[in-house]
Point group: C2
Chain length 215, copies 2
């Protein structure tokens, strides 16, 4: 498939690399068409990897992974025009993190709203699924890096989009437990969880942890 | 020991009953000295159980369990005078939940502050430990009700208070895994987690679940 990866940070690189390994054509979008990190990634990933602007990538992708910074996500996703996302599966991995007060970060939207909801409102015809946002980048595409059972969550307003996302998580990335938390408003809790996740990282010195719902 | 349980809801009843079973003298505090729910609890619990006003209970207890509603907690804890809590271990189980917009609730304080911090600021000489707030009442004092490994969290500014709280959680209530999240500001994440917990309860129809940090 033709897939857009929006953002050339650790998350975009991890997701893009795995997708190329799986044989997909992946265009990594950046603010400029020849972002050095994206170009470096494409050289290393080989085969189906290419680079372009955010708008180039969005137009290219049948599926769009939003791996941009939370504060930039709406603007970046709008760069090809709102309608460029119509009907597409938009996997939103971004987080509304505010580091301006240092560590741990705070949320710039939360409690009664979320970034997932903000993105769905901005692109009402995109099929937004919030997922993977609270997991270390290498673990997103290789959950076995953390031994034992642990969970990844999906939420969104479109059931078929969540089914497609669940299939990607299980069959492309290797997740065994995908928990559907309901509509996109559940982004409020998976985004808030990230601050908990950061606290544990600060205590343990490692991002290699995840949660499991025990019941 | 003489222990105060502040509040006669499900949490106060679960905690108070277990403490009496352990042989402690437990005074359950309510808004009135003879709250019917508290009186009923004391009759059922027997032995070391007694009732009184919030102020009566706070004065009585060497340890204070705050099982009051979040919105009432500061006022209720102040009812015996701020100094009545000086030096005491104050186990804060309350949550800043706002149900005014229906289910799931929102938080009336969060992100850059928390109820745990608010209580510590209001009673600066109390040794506040936030714990147990994200766990179903029966599970608080009997974690084996949920099979398998799962975690309870403590946070607070006083290391000896956290050590005492950890001892209570392990040796009185049966918790095997007590995770110290740091100072009282970590209440922000354990209180925010409660909304996640509620969402899972709404999906599964059961409060009998808890989280485990897998790493």
């Amino acid at each position: 498939m033709n897939i857009a990866v929006i953002g050339s940070g650790m998350v975009g690189v991890a997701i893009g690399t795995r997708l190329v390994e799986l044989g997909h054509h992946v265009k990594m979008g950046s603010r400029t068409a020849n972002n050095p990190k994206a170009v470096e990634w494409a050289k290393a990933a080989g085969g189906g990897a290419s680079v372009g602007t955010f708008a180039d990538a969005i137009r290219f992708g049948e599926i769009v992974f939003n791996c941009a910074l939370g504060g930039a996500s709406v603007e970046v996703l709008a760069s090809a025009g709102e309608e460029a996302l119509d009907g597409k599966l938009l996997l939103d991995i971004s987080n509304p993190l505010d580091f301006s007060k240092g560590m741990p970060p705070t949320l710039f939207v939360g409690n009664t709203d979320s970034l997932g909801e903000t993105i769905q409102r901005a692109f009402p015809k995109a099929r937004v699924v919030k997922t993977l946002n609270s997991i270390a980048a290498p673990v997103m595409v290789n959950p076995a890096l953390i031994p034992g059972d642990h969970d990844v969550f999906v939420c969104g307003n479109d059931g078929s989009a969540k089914a497609q996302a669940t299939d990607i998580l299980k069959n492309w990335f290797g997740w065994r437990s995908v928990v559907d938390l309901g509509d996109i408003s559940a982004s409020r809790v998976t985004e808030a969880w990230v601050i908990f996740w950061v606290r544990i990282m600060m205590l343990t010195g490692s991002p290699m942890h995840n949660l499991k719902i025990v019941r």
